[in-house]
């Protein structure tokens, strides 16, 4: 079973035997059991599973927003647990981008200010952060909407801003939880095309979704069941196989 494409040094995210237990005693819930996954540079992995299967826990642990009960999270080969609080915060600001279902844009900031914010928080000068934000928006076809506020944007545009924010600068790992949210199927497809394009530029992405059409954009689909990695899709067979004429 190939859990990563390419060689070891290309691995951006590695989860080693991750287990996560919430609560204690009778209220104990085992959210993840011995899950190991690695995601290579440029690879998009989708995580599917019924609600309660551990999908969201997997994502928050991969994003260093939560500690696993046991197991290790490695980002670019570095064990997150061994990092200082400061180093961990830097990884969160510089390396990882998050996209949430409800976009989480700050209503008082324009589109470009929202995108530039993580860079500014990381100490980049306002002007440089602004230019990088503008560039990220342009890549997503939103250059002309840069000065609009979130409430002036459509749902599809807001989600593109959220993706721009998650990929701005030199981010290498994109983590998305139901990124198409309540968007219709055309906009949902648009979101996946953008994440896919980010992967083509070298970003590693993990997308949690219950939607098979969105998951089918991924290079690899992982199925969680009761907190365990139950199954995953085979390596791509190549598009030719579907259209071979029966001879």
């Amino acid at each position: 079973m190939s859990t990563s494409m390419g060689n070891k040094e290309q691995t951006v995210l590695e989860l080693r035997s991750i287990s996560k237990v919430y609560g204690k005693g009778a209220a104990e819930v085992q959210a993840l059991r011995d899950v190991s996954i690695s995601v290579a540079r440029g690879e998009m992995v989708a995580v599917m599973g019924p609600s309660g299967s551990g999908k969201s826990s997997l994502l928050t642990i991969a994003g260093t927003l939560e500690e696993p009960t046991s197991g290790a999270v490695l980002i670019n080969g570095e064990d997150v647990h061994a990092m200082s609080a400061g180093a961990k915060a830097r990884v969160r600001r510089r390396t990882i981008g998050y996209v949430f279902q409800d976009f989480n844009l700050l209503p008082g900031l324009t589109a470009v200010e929202n995108v530039a914010l993580p860079l500014e928080l990381d100490g980049t000068s306002m002007r440089r952060a602004y230019l990088a934000g503008l560039k990220a928006l342009e890549t997503l076809g939103l250059g002309d909407r840069a000065r609009a506020f979130p409430d002036q944007l459509s749902g599809g545009e807001r989600q593109r801003v959220a993706i721009a924010r998650a990929t701005v600068g030199e981010r290498q790992l994109l983590l998305a939880d139901e990124p198409s949210g309540a968007l219709d199927s055309a906009n949902g497809e648009g979101v996946m095309r953008l994440i896919h394009a980010a992967c083509k530029r070298g970003v590693a992405a993990v997308v949690v979704t219950h939607d098979a059409q969105l998951a089918s954009w991924a290079d690899r689909v992982i199925f969680l069941r009761d907190g365990r990695l139950a199954d995953q899709t085979a390596a791509p067979a190549g598009p030719e196989s579907l259209l071979e004429s029966p001879s």
Binding site: S216, V221, D231, G238, L243
Partner: protein
Amino acid sequence: MTYILSMLLSNIHGLILSEVAVSVRHALLALLSEEPKYGLQLREEFEAHTGEVWPLNVGQVYTTLQRLERDGLVAAVGDGDGEQPEHGPQKAYRITGAGRAELADWLRTVPDLSTPPRDDLVMKILIAVRVPGIDVHEVIQAHRRYLIELMQEWTRLKEDDDGADLSFALVVDSELFRLDSVVRWLDAAEGRLRRAAADGWTPALGTDGARTGVSLPRRRLGARR
């Protein structure tokens, strides 16, 4: 159970093939409604208009044309209207008034979807639920994985084409939605089975046909026929 097996053994493919044949018939009428065309040209245009997803052999085109001609829906160009075919032995065809009426009629007629199709996968899950020693969740997952792998392949085709070919995009979407609906049904089935198991349902209870739901389709299908 014997009912299910007999459904499995029935000739599903015959039904599917005859439905495709009906569509080819009307697709050819549609192409001829633009202008008179030759058989080879019809084949090329059929494939182009359907995103080249359904290959059609030229023999099928001629057989269909002959039947359409027999039914008075098309006529060979040059038959009684003074025109002569341009390409030697090849025959060109034109649509007749009756053909246009038939085409318009077909486009407006909704298909009969009232009877559930005989779905192999539905049967398989119904059977897996009551075969001792079979983990139905494993059966469901094997099919879910396969369906999603197929969807990945279609999505890659869509991604490569980038919406440039409208017919192709429509066909790919239709395939993706069809496969997606099967995945969703599997998700729902799995959820339903888990809840049933939590409520104490066991396959042994399922031998009581009146309570399992398996006899339900029979009653419904029986009423339709």
